[in-house]
Symmetry: C2
Subunit: 339 residues, 2 copies
Amino acid sequence: MRQGHQTWVFPSRPVILSTAAIGGPFEAKGPLGEDFDITHGDLMLGQDSWEKAEKVLLEEACDKALEKAGLQKEQVHFLLAGDLMNQIITSSFSARTLGIPYIGLFGACSTAMESLALGALLVDSQSADYVLAATGSHNGAAEKQYRYPTEYGSQKPPTAQWTVTGAGAAVVGNKGSGLRVHAATIGRIVDMGLSDPFNMGAAMAPAALSTIETHFRDMRLPHDHYDLVVTGDLGKVGHQILSELLPKHNVDIPLDRYIDCGKLIYGDNPTVWSGGSGCGCVATVTYGHLLRRMREGEWKRILVVATGALLSPISYQQGESIPCIAHAVAIEAEHPEEG
Amino acid sequence: MRQGHQTWVFPSRPVILSTAAIGGPFEAKGPLGEDFDITHGDLMLGQDSWEKAEKVLLEEACDKALEKAGLQKEQVHFLLAGDLMNQIITSSFSARTLGIPYIGLFGACSTAMESLALGALLVDSQSADYVLAATGSHNGAAEKQYRYPTEYGSQKPPTAQWTVTGAGAAVVGNKGSGLRVHAATIGRIVDMGLSDPFNMGAAMAPAALSTIETHFRDMRLPHDHYDLVVTGDLGKVGHQILSELLPKHNVDIPLDRYIDCGKLIYGDNPTVWSGGSGCGCVATVTYGHLLRRMREGEWKRILVVATGALLSPISYQQGESIPCIAHAVAIEAEHPEEG
């Protein structure tokens, strides 16, 4: 059900029956290493290409989420998935393996919440009993496609981010117990004219601001409603920029309750410059770390704002700036007194 | 509302308030030339790259559809769009121009019906009052990205298809008069192991069969229910294959009521080998030609089955076969006695 211009409120509060997070070797050694369901010591995952390794990550995330939900893939009505690869081959080939009816999405790093938002809508509107929302990325595959050959060893500025090797998936259903999806806000493109692909945090921060502002306005909520507002993946640079933009635009989210997935995943490791990025960043941090802490009672309600930089190497080479977007999903712990 | 495993039936029957089709110079000279709202004599559309020309096609389709619906873009709640370009830049840059909250999709040539199906679901579930579903392609942009440089003049086998230069858009709303979206079936990946990107009709035909079979089973409809079953874009080769597969699988659609968008758009022109393809093929043929004829009373109900070959140049180079999908949407003329 629509509320305001671009927000959906889900009266049935679809249930997140399970989530799974898979991580690569570098992610496993980071501060959130314990939060992954599976981690890999081999960046190739035993495959002969990075693209095939990325597919294994996504398939493992889907399989693990299904296993944790106690569901067979035949019981899941739709898979909603997307990734950074050209023609989202990671998702489409995983959809082939799974055999689940498939809705392909592209929102770059915002795909994690684009898929969760649409999946919750399908469940809420009784268009599906169970859906699987999934996304992932692989550092090697992303570097090869978007940037220079890694063998070239090109240096990067401190505003650059490190694409996460990892994947996350969530099973959403119309019954059962678990965290619940309360609402979702679909973003619009915000493009402030920035064109530096090594500073995507700065490019994406205004898109996150737009969606956060819209969410609170559409929902008519006080700015301190959520225990945590999480962006992903602005990194240190984008987190700082958004921390300054929010009060300037009178969005008075307590700044000690505002965190970013790109800052969290690698902690203070200076080798990743501004922090993590990629579809796997917000997916693994949300599905592995944040929702686990919510289940443990640390937070009651959070707003996850996944940002995406919708550029391509061609659009950059042709002198275009970076169109950015952010999609937000509100997740709340089940209240026994309401259940 | 879900019916069967993978079909949505829309009780409110969302209204297709308007459609628009834009064509390139070659398409304008074809047998459906008169059905386009706008045609261009210049393949570059006055732009300095094919990618930018493709964006103009999509933006024109969206603008024209909005104009014909008598709506301002501010009244449209969501744009659902996708295309063949890496990272669907055509759609994302058009979403920037339009400023409408944006749901990015990827289903290759199936995107036309993926976007219409999801758009109708948003309207039916009261998650939107008006949506815009749009997709397009450009021959030059697709050749450059998927195949050889056109200057190379490489020859193609007779099973190859010609990517359509064109775009189509539809405005769907919860009130007003027009054709109505009755139901939609979301496909699953079908991959018969074919890997020849110059014979995508053969690769995609089994995916179309799967979705058509599922649609009739989920809907419990007799096989002669529709006045027309339309695939897009199997071309002559794929149309012939599916015409043989359907009776073999006891799907007794009268074969004189089965046509293909890839066959229609260029007629018998032998220079396009097996026929048209690309996101713009099914979009322009459906939104320009077929729905126009429905409005004129030629057909009362049609099923449009948009097929997509979800390969990428990388997946092909790495020896993978072609995962295919088809999404179907049932469109019916308004019956005054029911209205």
